[in-house]
Symmetry: C2
Subunit: 317 residues, 2 copies
Amino acid sequence: MSNYIGIDLGGTAVKLGIVNMKGEIVETVEVPTLAETNSADKIYRNISQAVGALLEKSGGDKIKGIGIGCPGSISPEEGTIVSGISNIPALNGFPLAREIEHDFKIPTFIDNDANNAARGEFLFGAGTGKKNFIMITLGTGIGGAIFINGDLYGGVNNYAGEVGHMIIIVNGLQCTCGSMGCWEAYGSATSMIKRAKALVERGIKTSLLKHYPDDINAKVIVKEAAAGDMAAKEIIISTGKYIGIGLANLINIFNPELCIVGGGVSLAGEILFKEILKYAQINTLPRAWDVVEIEQAKLGNKAGILGSAALAYMKMK
Amino acid sequence: MSNYIGIDLGGTAVKLGIVNMKGEIVETVEVPTLAETNSADKIYRNISQAVGALLEKSGGDKIKGIGIGCPGSISPEEGTIVSGISNIPALNGFPLAREIEHDFKIPTFIDNDANNAARGEFLFGAGTGKKNFIMITLGTGIGGAIFINGDLYGGVNNYAGEVGHMIIIVNGLQCTCGSMGCWEAYGSATSMIKRAKALVERGIKTSLLKHYPDDINAKVIVKEAAAGDMAAKEIIISTGKYIGIGLANLINIFNPELCIVGGGVSLAGEILFKEILKYAQINTLPRAWDVVEIEQAKLGNKAGILGSAALAYMKMK
């Protein structure tokens, strides 16, 4: 049985793992990304050495392919990080997969982390056995990935799934993309934190005050809501409502068998998930709702490595 | 070269045509639907006789397949009109395609008219040569169809593409589906007519008054706008804005190579189309906008017959 290497390339750390086809990570290596050096060459050599170290750990087991996942817009055909990888600007335009493949003579593939997360869930997680599903990743923004006929749908230039910029309130809140009223301006961790800070600043009585400003995050808001804080609860409920409505939009559009909800915000607990389900159901047409399952992602913090390995596996099979 | 029969089953008339592979309708038959008889049996016998009449007109040319298009939710596998065909209620659950196939010994297929319109554009119209595109149909509501990898994407139970019920304004206008703020509550002909009537009722000075109430329709609003009426112009501009924003959502989600805009409202003229394009561009991420074309549907009032024939062709090839 062949193994694959998955590389999770983040802004601060590069996490590498050898993955077997049971979805187990059997060896790992982790190195700092060195984004601050601002040198593609240094960053690349560091990653390359880490791959070498991992291959040594593999003890000669055959590695069939290498997959890389990173944030940003990727051109998989060219093995290039095209743009938008704002936390590692030196790698913009760098043909990372092609270089790794050249150095190690192992087929290497690259795609963005939201797409790979969906591939990981498809092979090893909540999506096993499903052919048509969507996955949303609730974090700083809202990412999306679309599976159709058992494969990731990338669109014309691998840019499909930008669900976070679906407008749910015309003339609504300003989004980072320049438009107004995007889904992620209402349903992301960033939006929760903004709302929490605004409540504190308006002098509303809330236990969030003691975390203000720098320690307010989605987890803290959920914790305070669970402890009975009304302002925190209100943030969770309205965030869940917005997430649920956007999810309903996607279910009405795709008529999928499954929606996987992943990302940090999705771990915020039962209160939020209950609200998401409630508003998704209210706003989905019954015939589509009747056939869809909504599940939380299963791979958790292994999604980066497993998803990247899944990319390599799916490209080579 | 084989020909196909396309059947456009509407609430008042059934239009049948023999279609060749150049996309020409070489023979036609039209009969009333007889929806008012409320008898599936009578309606079926009438359609069946019309098929017989058309086959006689074909003069013995081989008919390879028959396609049927109708509004509502269709289960193509069972050859059944499942539900939602509100203007011919007697046919709910009636296995129309199966019966035709049985009677004429010609393979027969059925799907909803929005899906078939997209198939027609794919084979004979604006979508030729395109593999990944979306089509929206602007009429009483907003219909949608999704083409992926050169085939219609139906979702789990052929219900995909319900783009009209994508919410673009949370807590917005009431939609016929029960939700609030759906796209079609802002971008359909129905919404234009509602707004026009409301303006007249509020006593706004407008030439729409002379059409009030029963002659106000999308075409009239466009005509009065073109003649300089400010209220009519304002309706067109805001409708175009809403349509454009919903279209941007779909382009961000699908990253398609083409969006085809069809339906009666799309024929409303250049003013509306200009607004649609303007707001679609403003709200689409640049990388997706750069690769997408927006085109008006080409099949016009032949879409029903040509689309249904396209269904049969695509199912049999």
